[in-house]
Amino acid sequence: MSAALQTTTVTKPEIVAPAGTPAALVAAINAGADTVYCGFRDATNARNYPGLNFTAEDLKEGLAYAHARGRKVNVAINTYASAGSTGAWHRAIDTAADLGADAVIMADIGLLDYTARRHPKLRRHLSVQAGASTLPSIEYYYESFGISRMILPRMFTVEEIAELKTRVPIEIECFIFGSLSPMTEGRCSLSAYATGRAPNLCGVCSPAEFVRYDTVEGMLVCRLGDFAVNAFDASEPAGYPTICKGRFIAGDSATAAYVFEEPECLNAATHIGTLRRAGICAFKIEGRQRGRFYVAEVVGAFRELIDAEANGEPLARHNGAMEQLRRLAEGGEETQGALKRGWR
């Protein structure tokens, strides 16, 4: 841990970093993450992709590595359990509790209720998948299940977040970097409509086994299931066919356009001071599907910027870190998303 972190009097927000693998967990912690979040290797978490995620043994080792360095590990159990199959979700919660996870990140009302009753001492964080977006909805989860923290949906301006924090009885965690969905999370079945598999029930969005690329009249067409989600000419870099970031024809329009959202990456680096002063306690980086080198670079850049900002240094002096984040943004395009007025 840096000397700056120990001597400063300012309460700095945690960096909450993604770990799709044990190697990414180690990389994130070594790069300066305060907290890492991860999930089990099954449909109990919202990044249920081949080759990703943790066994119980992996989690045990990850917790030991993190706790030895004064850091935390939060476990995402943030999909919805199907009727008759809740056993697998209950086991995931029990395992996280037994191994000493610092928190579980959840969205399902039934599972939150189970955890509150069975493991009252285990911190419960409300996943962005729950889509709680107003004071009464946050109160609903707080009063019903004793959540300690909520992860805010990506739909508010910086000013709105600051105002909300003054009225909310619990901690707020905000996304600061990574892939951005324009849809309210936990309320999206677009992927299920095209493929039969989606985040809420399967923990996947636009899964790779349904993706096909082919060339039609000189255009590279990328498909998800039966649908062409985008087409690129030779001058454009081809993207992944995530439905909400595809190009489509709306109504009588003569041309295809990004009807929902351009394929951009959220980068809220310029807002970290405002968000810290507003009392946001944790900055979340999206990307458990990303490799450890990517995670280490993003965490390292934010470690530098958050420490600098807390020490009162102008971020202009940290152009290297800012530039690095810009380079890491998906497709080279970055956005402030809903944080900036006018996105809606």
């Binding site: 359990a81 039934g110 739909m155 029930l201 299931g225 709306a250």
Partner: protein, 314 residues
Amino acid sequence: MSTDTRIRLGLGPVLFHWPADRLRDFYFRIADEADCDTVYVGEAVCSKRMPLNAAVLPEIVERLTRAGKEVVLSSLALIGDDREVAAMTALIASAPGLVEANDAAVLRLLRGRPHIAGPFINIYNEDALGFLAGQGVVRVCLPFELPGTVIARLAALSPVPLEVLVFGRVPLAISARCFHARAEGRSKDNCQFACNADADGRLVSTVEEVPFLALNGLQTLSARAANLLGELAPLQEAGVRRFRLSPHTGDMKATLALFRAVAEGRQAPEEASGRLARLHPNLEFANGFYYGAPGHDYVVRPVSAATLAVNAAR
């Protein structure tokens, strides 16, 4: 499971931006002529539309109630600010009967009194159902992506009646951003009600001109409408007695009658599906979610037991 075995048809809230006159005419006809038990009324998609229809809402509720329909007020599916919370508080205060919650904020406002959990509340298992029933939920309209196997398990375990969407374009996503306004190069704040031009939503096609989705302001729906005429029998066998139809511009009175006839075994689902297509010439149909398949699929079942029974009776 409920012991009441009568089939109840519910007409879901009009999801699209219909002008007040059209809305009033539609509901008056439903009140006077349509065979349905419950009518869900109110704006579920965008709070900006609410003031435009506020003036006709009381007469709609009154006419439906007088016609003997159960009137339920539906709430917004996405609530993002204090103004919308206040609108929901006012909605609850004005409700003649039950209110359908479509967001956790409304669950909070309704806690402790009888209410309905709408399809935008994520209820996928018996734990969630049990918790909500303990908070005052007396009926649940299930999320649209649930497969029939899960619906059947929930129906077997549920302490309250369940309702399933059987007709209409399926809401797939909601956003704080308005895609209808975006398609016109506007922001949500300056939308000028771009959504009012598309009474069944604005079709979104792929670059290969294959119909895919439909825009409805903040909401994105399926291009193909759900048609579960062929699945009414297995749903009934599983214990589901309530079916929801989502309003479209086609003849909803005749659509309700078709679903009633099939649910009561008076008409074969295959024959009814042909008629349904004629009632809604602008819609294609799908039932994939029921089979755990891609939602846009139309799974053709072998000739159903219901069909054989109807044919045998002739």
